[in-house]
């Protein structure tokens, strides 16, 4: 809860404002919307994951790989990434417009999230020329799927307390230890790994940050069952795993700074992601549409004043969250807390989503007690599952409580706890 108290100052993020033409954006989004209407895939026979954390079967994996590749090949993924590595070099607002339209049309997610939103931006920011050339384009095409190795059993949000070690051994790093909550761990080609170096330095001062090929000998992957009952992430064990020296990114023993920078992408604070359509939220219109089909105490759910009111509150909150994206582009309107909007992105959307999903269950009345694959469940129980899955985002990548600490200290300047 006070992890932030030891953050180096340079990880403080200032809002990026770029005044780009609203009309160009709308036009671009319209063009993409048209492409989507023709090219978005139909609903497959199997259930699709709502977030990248829920990819549990081969058919889901293949379907989402194909879909991401086709979006990329049509020119709509990584549009704000540099052209020389496979992007289109457009302002980040264009990527945001694409994400919003994907959410709006409720198309399948861009599932290679760790690559698109964590590893990719990181490599572009501080990677070597070799690393950029080798990895970036393949992230967009989904040829390389990435996973993340930060959390460990027993460490939770306390990243400085990790015990996996990566020490020099000739021209290699030798890795021992284990990681947990590794989304896509059983499918990934690469992992971003945080581990203790051999400095003997305590906690956050002695970490290394590595890009690790998952096919390396000595890596074992075990699937974890989620509370939804489905699979979706893994535990990864390292037993004398050797990887080449140049898998390091950032300075040796500078892994903590690299990790903190990486978390700012995830928090939505830094921009630079190739896509944020990773399914951590849905658009309220989808939920309202479902609600029109729901019965509460034998009548339409949307005729119950208390349900309507809770929904109206969520709609106001959603509207504010969407307006933020436009307001933050006007630097004059960004003060007096210019980093607030970006730094709170994850907290706002993930908590909103949790409450929306919970209401979506409650408004089903008696049928809200049903679950996945019951034939009478509204939308096959997707809202029940959606509520359970919502915790992945309120917990993962720094739980909401830590997000609040960070906002208090870095945006409001409140003293460390």
């Amino acid at each position: 809860m006070s992890e932030n108290s030891i953050l180096p100052d340079h990880t403080t993020v200032t809002a990026k404002t770029m005044d780009c033409d609203e009309d160009d954006l709308f036009e671009f989004r319209d063009e993409f919307a048209g492409w989507l209407r023709v090219n978005a895939p139909g609903k497959p026979a199997f259930p699709l994951p709502e977030t990248f954390m829920e990819v549990g079967t081969d058919e889901q994996f293949d379907f989402l790989s194909d879909w991401q590749r086709s979006v990329y090949e049509a020119g709509y993924l990584g549009v704000s990434w540099p052209q020389e590595y496979g992007g289109r070099g457009l302002p980040v607002e264009f990527q945001n417009a694409i994400d919003l339209e994907m959410i709006h049309q409720n198309v399948p997610i861009m599932f290679n999230t760790i690559g698109l939103a964590w590893a990719g931006p990181l490599i572009l920011d501080i990677g070597s020329e070799r690393q950029k050339k080798q990895y970036i384009r393949r992230i967009l095409t989904a040829e390389d799927v990435w996973c993340q190795g930060f959390s460990e059993p027993g460490a939770g949000s306390d990243l400085a307390n990790i015990r996996t070690v990566a020490v020099r051994d000739g021209e290699n790093w030798r890795i021992n230890g284990s990681k947990i909550w590794t989304t896509l761990g059983s499918y990934a080609d690469h992992m971003i790994l945080l581990a203790q170096g051999d400095s003997g330095a305590a906690r956050y001062k002695g970490l290394n940050f590595l890009l690790v090929p998952m096919e390396s000998e000595g890596i074992e992957v075990r699937k974890i069952r989620k509370m939804t009952g489905e699979h979706g992430f893994c535990e990864v064990f390292f037993n004398d795993v050797f990887v080449p020296k140049d898998c390091l990114i950032g300075q040796e023993l500078g892994g903590w700074q690299v990790a903190m920078r990486t978390l700012t992408y995830e928090r939505g604070a830094a921009g630079g992601q190739a896509s944020m359509h990773t399914g951590t939220r849905i658009e309220s219109s989808l939920m309202i549409e479902a609600a029109t089909r729901a019965e509460f105490d034998g009548g339409p759910a949307l005729e119950e004043p208390l349900i309507c009111d809770e929904l109206v509150r969520l709609l106001i909150e959603e509207r504010a969250n969407l307006l933020h994206e436009s307001r933050k582009r006007h630097s004059a309107l960004a003060g007096p807390y210019p980093t607030a909007i970006d730094m709170s992105h994850k907290l706002r959307w993930t908590e909103w989503n949790r409450r929306l999903q919970r209401l979506a269950v409650e408004l089903q009345g008696l049928e809200g007690s049903l679950y996945l694959e019951d034939p009478d469940a509204l939308d096959g129980g997707a809202w029940q599952r959606g509520y359970l899955n919502s915790f992945a985002a309120t917990i993962g990548g720094g739980p909401s409580e830590i997000q609040s600490n960070i906002l208090a200290e870095r945006v409001l300047g409140l003293p460390k706890g």
């Binding site: 307390n161 989620k226 009548g299 009345g365 739980p399």
Partner: protein, 379 residues
Amino acid sequence: MSDDRATAITFSDEQRLLLEQSERFARNRSGFESVRKRIAAKDDIDRSIWQDIVAMGWANLLVPVAYGGSGLRVDALVPIVESAGRHLLASPLISTALATQLLVDAGSRGQKEMWLPQVGSGSVATTALCEPGGSWALTEPRLQAQCSNGIVRLSGTKIHVRDAKEAQFLIVSAMLDGQPALVVVERAYLRENSLRSQIVLDETQRCYTVSFEEVEVPATMVLDGGDVVEALCALERTGELLFSAEMAGGLGGALALLVNHLTTREAFGGPIGRFQALKHATVDILLDFEAARSLVYGAGTTIASSPGKAASEIATRMAKAHTSDAFVHACDRTIQFHGGLGFTYECNAQLFLRRAMWSQAVFGSAKYHRQKLAPLLLS
């Protein structure tokens, strides 16, 4: 609060003994491992647990002495159900109790003689009252019953029938000659394949949709010893009370799990329970839990001393409104504060959350009851 008695709780020595006994029983017989075994089990009920429940006399607490039972009032069940809820103990006790109450309230002497003693000897019974559309008010069933030549023919489907597969008889609400009626359907009268297992959030539950299409029973199985609408209203109250009691127990179980986690899980150099944000949120849950218990035992007192229909309705609806929201909220926070672990199937927090979500949906959610309470309290 003009009625002072509405804020008094009576709690007899008998209830105290039942509380101690049931807490011990549930703790011993329903550890988390047992709960998970129950979930994975093929059988709908754990026979050994049910036999013990019957042996302890809990199954026929509500059966009048004249029919071989203990003749206690429904508040005697509250401590038992609370203990069961705390330990997620699964049994057909509530199903059987609700069926018993309908028989007592609406059955003739002959009908009581026929079915009540079965309960004491270990038969499972249940009620089939809810229908597609999910109305929580039970007094206007749409399932049709037609009587001719001493035969009643049913037509329609009931949903959310708990423990239907194991029940020796089901009490079904129906419209007969434009009036609500209650019909006892023994399991032999059900047609083949009339039961479909529902997939519900709480994996310890066994719920069914039951088709009564073309089911025919003798007209003597229509309960004719009391006012059916009154009996159904009373059943709503009892259902609200018992599920509130079970939820109050579950809320206590979730709180204990959370407190244990906060005091043992270490991060950033000490147990995470030292962080104020977690502390204060947990205190809110504690206060919700205390309120749940007071409302539940208060409602038990009110319903048992029968100080008028409105007072009971207020008391049980308040209990169900409060516990439904509070239990879900407590589990939601318990998951969140467990961090990554909370998100796994392995963590026991999900057992409580699924129970909470299931429970809020039966016998009316918080919003439903608050809406019903407004005119009762404010006009």
